[in-house]
Each structure stands twice: as structure tokens, then as C-alpha cells.
Symmetry: C2
Subunit: 597 residues, 2 copies
């Protein structure tokens, strides 16, 4: 039996509500987007009392389904002005799943002159909203450390750092990891950390003591499905086991993490380099997943079991993909940052022309500590470089400048934390890589046009995870992108967006898409696990399109039009070296992505 | 015979074009908005090569019609993302009218890596685009001084200051005044100075040597009309002569300028004070038009003819209203700033809780020198105060902070020059007074609801001059606004917006609206002068609505919807002292303003 926990920050009261019938099959993103669309006025100010935060574990969170512990956080985005769902791994989805909490809705706000900060502690049929002023104003690493000590039940912890507390538009929602080593499991995008700040909620702490593993409606089907999926995951070269039968490295994500893409994208001329001015980065290898793999091996060889470096590190309980990592210092064996993903390595590396791995790692660590979205922040730093404030390639200068964000009075700190668009415009930059105000991630849309269509049309603002057409496009890059499914770019993007919305609802990690798309047994396993859990037959694509319909409806009522579904002008007028391509998907084709829904 | 001058900044070439038939009756704003809507892709980046600048004198510019020398400048606004027309007095409209130039269209842009700055010099059938790199990077006072010396023909000069050169979104287009004392005749709003900067055009210099007074098609009707209008202007208490028959002060604008409103609005509880948190300012009298009048009188009494202080100072050749002023230093008799309008005195005075006249004047002078819009900048400074960066009421701190804009590397300087929204959001302020991204001017919309409807619905972004319902509303302020015309707020706003669009096309100063609305002879005089000049019968309101249709069409195609026609949330949720009013015109009523067109 699952329930909804509703917290009213006007007076810090809460109540438990039965799940309305219409929300019964909704989890994760499907739930957050439905509630936001149903309950939030799309024209409201995102950082005042009328916005809401919705926190929802995926449908299968807390179960034995493999890699199914993603957490969705929803609200109206202060960065895009539209609906937002950001999701992450970590502990919280598992804890909420075990507590039988379908979603937490945080609404209202203390009076404007309130100086108090609160944390919400959710347990088995219990909730308290406690004043935690001593948690405010400190780094996120210290913050999770204190909470972990104050609540010695290995709780899931999510919340906002100092940037969220200051209502900065790039503030993400951090989450702690399995060992509480790092607040690096970020629902990073779209400024939802600032929405936490606007409600004066520092943290949501979930204690699943006395919790229980959620029971599927049709246990046989569920078990059969999750096992088939697990097998497909293990077999696939992207998501599979660490080593093959001969002991050679096999699964790409386990060995190199998402950052295996760094070299690959560069080789294909699609790695956005120096503020989207080239598709190839001469320093890619030095900041790549392969480089991290070798660094970990070297460090572990040197320090043995004491070394903290890892690859194949899971980001959530029950993850069998384990694409995460811990980047160690070679001289001490201690952890520098966890994780260093492709997106962050790109945002602070190739994007800034920085090829020193520990400069990149340090920039990422600072974001984790400050409560910032790494993609948005990397792009904001690129704007500072475009604007001549710091030099491209100067890692130490980038680090020192990012540290300005700690200072409440630093205007440049405020600017960086306000995101790419604000930073770029303030410096008079006209090559600003954003869609709907949100920074474009690590795939240049000129050579990879399908992802450009996703950037343009997803209700989320530029977001590669919203419809990862890369999976289909990577084969045939270099301007003659071929599509294995023989779909046009618009259809390709729509398919991936719908599939993604479904996966984001289930709690499954998006990376199951590789084995699911390549292997019918994997696909059917996914479907059986979800349908077995719900005891219902759900159509994957219809379900996903329904989520997107809710999201687009919200955005439309917020004032979005087709003109918001566009890439920045410079992608159409500036050819990208080395292949000299511009983005040439027509507006008309772009508008067919959701023309029908 | 009038012509269009088209300058292509790609290669600095130009050509003269005959006026297409469809533009024959269009002048000023009607011309700029038609050309922008016809020629500019509404989705283009406003600060890249596809935007255009259109400069157009009003229809009657250069003629003997009273107060008919307004100049319109149009383009896609980098501040609002929509169409923009900003207009001003000064010399240029007169010069262009005498040259027979209906409009100058500046398009294209030098290559992105160009370091050169250009000026466009227009004369009788001649045009040259000259490299003027030595005009770059200096204050606007020095800039116009140099040009005046380099072109000793008393030219009209418009252009952008250092903020426009740096593509800052608050940069206006300056214009020189009759004596070339000040660059204070600003087409200030919407960032068109940055569009100049993006085309690397520093100045447009118009030399009307060998020019001629434009000839009306129907001279009798024109003369009859302009004389009747002149008489109505002279008689009206707002626009009339300096003194009555008994030698007592009579015409309000001549005696006190627009800043007569400072005390009046405060008394009525509608003067936005301390960042729109009160409607009454205890220091209003010290920065009022009356205070300036007395200062001028005292200074002139002390220094006689040497004193530079003035009221009843005309802003354009042939102005019979002469509402402008020169604020003197009492200890030297020298000019401090010209003009100090109500809007600037409000923006830097009551709005910032500053009641020291020379602090306010200095902030205004700095804006003139920096090339900044005073309304946008005053509101941006208020955001710095809301955000705690400087204290409300601290004039010297505001001055020092504004001076940061001179420094190319000052981030706070860049921020201020990026406008109210950017400044407010960067500081985490959620009470940001903007519509369509443009700062709200000096009338709080809570007690004066009609002007709120204008702020919300004008295609220009918040702009009091776009539909000055104040003229009708001021009688019945204090929450029980009565409307002398018995129109609802939406109808009132639509009427004023249409009338204004017509007046902005004619070249007449908007202040003729007072005698025109109060006196049928004045209205008919206006109509006869325009129709006599054109030799055609033009319907005032139909003509105005056609202008608005063009503008709204552009904005719609740029992606604007009804949701952009809204005031910020806090006007609806925060009651304004002293009358405790919120803005309560419904969205439905607002949408009827242009529901029909």
C-alpha cells in the first residue's frame, strides 16, 4: 500500500493522503509531472509560494528489479520557466520505496522574512519537519556528513546546497551515495535546488528502518521479467559484466563509465570543444574514461585495499550496471571526486579546453559541494571564457573563479550560479548554447542531428537524457548519420523521448535502454517486470507519450510555443569543424516531433 | 520626395531606395515596425547579423508643425526578445526630415572577429560609412563633443555608448540635444543601443546642409491644422505657456517638466518607492519638478545669464511645449544634467529611497554618459538593493556602483547594464518589476490599474509611454479609479495604445495628447495637420491599431503568447501601502485589450 506525503511549508504541517486512482500506475517522472501539471499554476513564479516540489521514487524502487532505484524530482523550473523533472540514483528512491511512499509533495513557503531552515524527516508512517538552521550555509559534503551522523540509520538524503539556499538558477538537488561519501548523486538540472531553497527546505531525510520490500501484484511475471532484463544487461557490451570469460575488460560502462564517450565523440568530431566551436579535442584522451580506469588501476596497485579509487561503482542499491566511479589522487590513494561522469568531464574539460584530469575533477567536486548542476556550470564557465573573463584552457583560473560561488557577496559567483544564459548575456556573448534557457550537454547537435531534435523539443530544456538518440545515431556520425531504425530524426527523437519517459517512471536507470533496444528478451523483461509489479498491462510508448503530454500541456499553459523548440541561431549559421556541418533539421520537421500529441 | 537609405554592414555598402507604396503613409514608429515585421525573422538572435535597425523620423519631422520632431528607432529587442520602437527628441528627426529620408535601415554585420567601429554619415543624397575607431570606448558626452567638432554642421547625432558597444541589454540609443550639451535625448528602452553595437555602428550623423523643409500635399489644411493644434497646446494647463496673463506660472510642463508628477504620484499613493514596496515617498518633494524649478530660479538669480540651469527647455527644434530642463549646480551655475525627467528622478530617487537631488542627477548623468536606459538602470540598482548588495537610500554607494559600468572587466558593471531581470535573478530576488523582460516605470499598477494593463499588453514590454492611461486615470486614483471616459481598463488601454501608436508615427510629441484629448479643436488640428501633409484622410485609431497589429504579429511569430501579457506575481499577491491595493484586473479582461485585433 502506498501513500502520498504532503508537506505544507506555510506552517510546516504535513498529512498523509491515499493515492488517487488516476495516479495508481504512475511512478517517478510520470507521477511528478502529473502532480505538477494538475496542481501548479504554470504561470506562477517558480521561486515563490505557488510552486511545488514533488519527489517520487520510480515504480520499482526498493524492489529486487536490477538498477531500478532512480528518484525523480519535479517542479516548475526557475531556469526554464517550464516543467521540470530531474532524476538521480543514490539512496533515497530505495528508502522511499521501502517506506511505501509514492511521492512527497512540498508546497507553500514560510513567510518572506523567515530566517529559518527546515529539514523533512520521513519514516515509516511518520514525518517531522524540523528546524535545522545549523545545516545552512555549509558545503554539501559537510552537510551530508552531519546528517548521516545525526540520523544514524543510513538514511537517504537529498537537498539543496548554498546555491539553492540563495535561489540560484543552476542549483541542483543533491543526493547522497551508498557510502555517504559524496553528495554527488544529483537531480541536477533546471534549478530545482533553488525551489528547495525558496521553500526553505534544506534536506529531505528518509529513514527506511521498519520499511519493507514492495510486493509485486504478479510476482511470477515480475520475477521472470526482472531476471530476463538482468540477463540482457549482463550480456550487452555497454552494460555488461566487467570482464569476459577470458578475464579481459568487457562491459564498457563498468570499465570506463559514461566517460568512455570522451574519446569516441572526439574521434567522430562531435565532442563540443571550446564553447561549441570545434567537434574535436586534442586533450580528450587525458580526461577520458580510459584515463580514469588506468588511474584507478595504478592507484590500487600502489595502495591495495586502502585505495579509494573505483570504477564499476554502483550509484544506487541493487545496481548491476555500476557505471559510476571514484576518481582517486594517485599520490595518496584518497578519493578526489565521485562520480566523474562523461558530462562533467566534458563540461569542465573539452568544453573549457582543459585537459588536466584533476582540474576537471576538482571543478566537478566543487559543484557537488556548492549544490550546482555541472552541465550548467561548465557552460557558464565557458561563457566567462567566451567573454574574456578567464582564458580557455586555464584550469586553475576556472577553479579559483568557481570558488567565488562560496562567497555570498561575490557577484561573479552569483552570476555563475545563475547559469549559462544569464552569464553569457551579461558578458555580451551571442553564442550561448541553451534551449529553453537550459545549457546544452555534451553532444554537438550539428553532426548528431537527432540529439539536436531532442534538445529542441523535450519539455525539459536542452537535455540529452530526455531522448538519447545517440544510442541509434552513433554508428553513422560524420554528417551522414544513418539511423539503424530507418526513422527520420523527428520520429527517432519522439520514440526515444517516449521510451525515456516510461523508463524514468519505472525507476529503472536509463542505461537499460541499450540492452532493451538491442535485445527483445531485455525489452520484454523490462515490460514484464513493470506489468508484473503493477498487475496491469501498460504500453511502453503510450505511457511515455502520456507523460510527455502532461509536460507539454504545462509548458503550453506557461506560454511556450513552437518557437521555444529551437536551437540557438549559431548552430545553424556556424559550421562545426572538423566536418563543417551546421544543424540543418528544418523547423517543420522539428515541429512534427510532437505535432500529433 | 522621400527615400529610404539602406546600409549593409556586411561590407559597409549602402543604397538609396524608393519608398514602396505600402509605406507611403508610414512614418516614425509605423515605419520602423512595418519594416521590422516585414524584413526581420522574429526568431533571429537580436544581437547577431539577422536583426536590423530602422531609424525613422515622424511624418512631420522638419516641418513647421509644433513639437513634431520625434525620432523612432526600431529593431528586435535584445531585452524583450520582441519588437521594439523607442523614440526621442533631439536633432536627428529634424535633420532627416529636411534630408527627405523616410528611414535608414541598417542590416547585416561585419565578420564576428571585426575590431572596427563605424559611423554612418548621411547628407543630401549622400552617405558614407566611415571607420571611426577613435570614437569607441569613450563616454557619450565626449563622443558627441568630438563628432560635433569633426562635423561642424550642427548635425543630428545618435548612437551607442560603451554599453551598446559591449552588447549590454540596457543600452539605449543616445541623441544629442539642440546645443549639443548633452547626449540625453535617449531612445532608451529595450536595448537598441546593443543592436547598434552588434552591427559595430557607433553613430549615425545626419547633416541637413542643403536640406529643405518638407512640403505638405495640402498646404492649407496642414497650416490650419498645425495652427489649431498649436493654439490648443498653448492653452492647456499641462502643455501651455510659461505664465498666465498675470505673470503667474501656468503651463505645468514648462515650469516643472514631467517631474511635476513626483509629488502628485506620492500624494496619491502610486509612486513606486523602495523597489515597488510602497506608493508614497517621504522625500518626493526634494527631488520633484518643483524643487528643480526653484533650484533653477535661485541659480539664475545668483549667476544671471551665465547660469546654465533651465526649465522650459525644448528637446527638439520647433518644440512649443518645452518640458525639458537643465539641472544646475547651485554653487557654480554650471549644468549638472539635462534633462532630469520624472522617470529618471523616480528611477534613481523614490525607487531607491534616495532624496538627494544631486545624487539622483548624477546617476542620471552617468546613464547618459554610459549609454544606458535610466528606467532599466534605476530598477537594476533597486535589485542590487533588494539583494542586499547596496543599501536602499545610499546615493553615494549607488553612484560608485554605477560607475563600475565604465570598467570593461567589472562583473557588477556588466550585470547592471544587463538590466533589471538579469540583475534581480542573479541576486535571487523574486520581486522583479518587469514585463516581457523590460523594467516597469514610475507608476505603480496596483492603484493605477489602467497603466498596469498597458504595461502588460503593449508589444514593447513594460512602457508607460505606450498607452498613457494615467492621463485619464489620475483624477480618480486611490483604488476607486474612475474613468472620465467611462471606459473599462482594457478599453482605456487599447484606446491610448492606438492613439499613441498614431502619434508616434507622426513625429508629434506624446504630450500633445493632453490638449488633443481635452479639446476637439486640438484633436482636429492634429488630424488636419497630418492629413494635410499626406494629402490623405487617415483615421487616427485605425492607423494606430494597424501599427499595433504589425507589432503583435512580430511578437506572436517570435513566440509570445497571452502569458507574456502579465504583470509579475508580486503585484497580485503583495498589497501596496498606503492603500493596501493589489493589481486585480483579471487575465480575461487583459486579454480583451487586443482580443479583437
Amino acid at each position: 500500500m502506498s501513500t502520498i506525503l504532503r508537506v505544507d511549508m506555510d506552517d510546516q504541517s504535513h498529512k498523509w493522503e491515499a493515492v488517487p486512482k488516476k495516479y495508481e500506475t504512475l511512478g517517478g517522472r510520470a507521477f511528478t509531472s502529473a502532480v505538477i501539471n494538475d496542481e501548479v499554476d504554470p504561470t506562477c513564479h517558480p521561486l515563490r509560494e505557488f510552486n511545488k516540489i514533488v519527489i517520487a521514487p520510480g515504480l520499482l524502487a526498493g524492489t529486487a528489479a536490477p538498477s531500478s532505484g532512480r528518484l525523480s524530482i519535479g517542479g516548475k523550473s526557475p531556469l526554464t520557466g517550464g516543467i521540470k523533472e530531474a532524476n538521480a540514483g543514490g539512496l533515497t528512491a530505495n528508502r522511499l520505496g521501502r517506506l511505501g511512499i509514492k511521492g512527497i509533495i512540498i508546497e507553500g513557503a514560510p513567510p518572506a522574512d523567515s530566517q529559518d531552515w527546515y529539514s523533512i524527516v520521513a519514516g515509516r508512517d511518520s514525518c517531522s519537519v524540523v528546524k535545522t538552521n545549523d545545516y545552512a550555509g555549509i558545503g554539501c559534503y559537510e552537510l551530508i556528513g552531519r546528517i548521516w551522523k545525526d540520523y544514524p540509520v543510513k538514511p537517504g538524503i537529498i537537498g539543496c546546497g548554498i546555491t539553492g539556499q540563495r535561489l540560484m538558477k543552476s542549483a541542483g538537488v543533491f543526493g547522497n551515495d551508498l557510502e555517504n561519501r559524496s553528495p554527488g548523486r544529483y537531480a541536477a538540472r533546471g534549478g530545482l535546488g533553488a525551489v528547495f531553497g525558496s521553500k526553505r527546505v534544506l534536506a529531505v531525510i528518509s529513514d527506511s528502518t521498519d520499511g519493507a520490500i514492495p510486493l509485486p501484484k504478479d510476482k511470477d511475471r515480475f520475477d521472470k521479467g526482472r531476471e530476463a532484463l538482468h540477463e540482457a544487461i549482463d550480456k550487452h557490451v555497454v552494460t555488461g559484466k566487467l570482464n569476459d570469460a577470458q578475464g579481459n575488460p568487457y562491459g564498457e560502462l563498468k570499465n570506463y563509465g559514461t566517460n568512455i564517450l570522451q574519446n569516441f565523440l572526439s574521434e567522430n568530431g562531435a565532442l563540443p570543444t571550446r564553447g561549441f566551436s570545434s567537434g574535436r579535442f586534442s586533450g580528450a584522451a587525458r580526461i577520458s574514461g580510459e584515463a580514469v580506469h588506468e588511474l584507478v588501476d595504478r592507484t590500487r596497485a600502489k595502495f591495495g585495499g586502502v585505495a579509494e579509487g573505483r570504477y564499476a561503482h554502483p550509484c544506487q542499491p541493487g545496481c548491476v550496471i555500476a557505471c559510476s566511479n571514484i576518481v582517486p589522487f594517485e599520490d595518496t590513494g584518497k578519493a578526489h571526486v565521485s562520480p566523474l561522469e562523461y558530462e562533467s568531464a566534458w563540461a569542465f574539460g573539452s568544453n573549457l579546453d582543459i585537459d588536466v584530469l584533476h582540474d576537471v575533477a576538482e571543478l566537478n567536486r566543487l559543484c557537488n559541494d556548492l549544490g550546482l548542476d555541472a552541465i550548467e556550470t561548465g557552460n557558464a564557465l565557458a561563457m566567462l571564457m567566451e567573454g574574456g573573463v578567464i582564458e580557455y584552457g586555464d584550469g586553475p583560473a576556472a577553479i579559483e573563479t568557481l570558488k567565488e560561488v562560496y562567497k555570498p557577496d561575490s557577484i561573479i559567483g552569483r552570476l555563475i550560479a545563475s547559469g549559462t544564459k544569464t552569464t553569457g548575456e551579461t558578458l555580451g556573448v551571442t553564442r550561448i548554447p541553451v534551449v529553453k534557457g537550459q545549457a546544452i550537454p555534451a553532444y554537438d547537435p550539428r553532426p548528431i542531428r537527432g540529439i539536436g531534435v531532442t534538445y529542441a523539443t523535450t519539455p525539459m530544456g536542452a537535455d540529452h537524457t530526455a531522448g538519447y538518440t545517440i544510442a541509434a545515431e552513433l554508428d553513422g556520425i560524420k554528417g551522414t548519420v544513418t539511423d539503424p531504425r530507418e526513422l527520420k530524426k523527428a520520429e527517432l527523437s519522439r520514440y526515444f523521448q517516449a521510451l525515456t519517459a516510461y523508463i524514468d517512471a519505472t525507476g529503472y536507470c536509463l542505461f537499460i535502454a541499450f540492452p532493451v533496444l538491442d535485445n527483445d528478451d531485455g525489452f520484454n523483461g523490462m515490460v514484464d517486470s513493470v506489468n508484473g509489479f503493477l498487475g496491469k498491462d501498460i504500453d511502453v510508448i503510450e505511457y511515455g507519450l502520456d507523460v510527455l503530454k502532461n509536460e507539454r500541456d504545462f509548458n503550453k499553459r506557461a506560454g511556450f510555443t513552437a518557437e521555444d523548440d529551437r536551437l540557438p541561431e549559431f548552430f545553424k549559421s556556424e559550421p562545426l569543424p572538423p566536418h563543417k556541418l551546421t544543424f540543418d533539421v528544418s523547423d517543420e520537421e522539428i515541429d512534427t516531433v510532437f505535432g500529433g500529441i
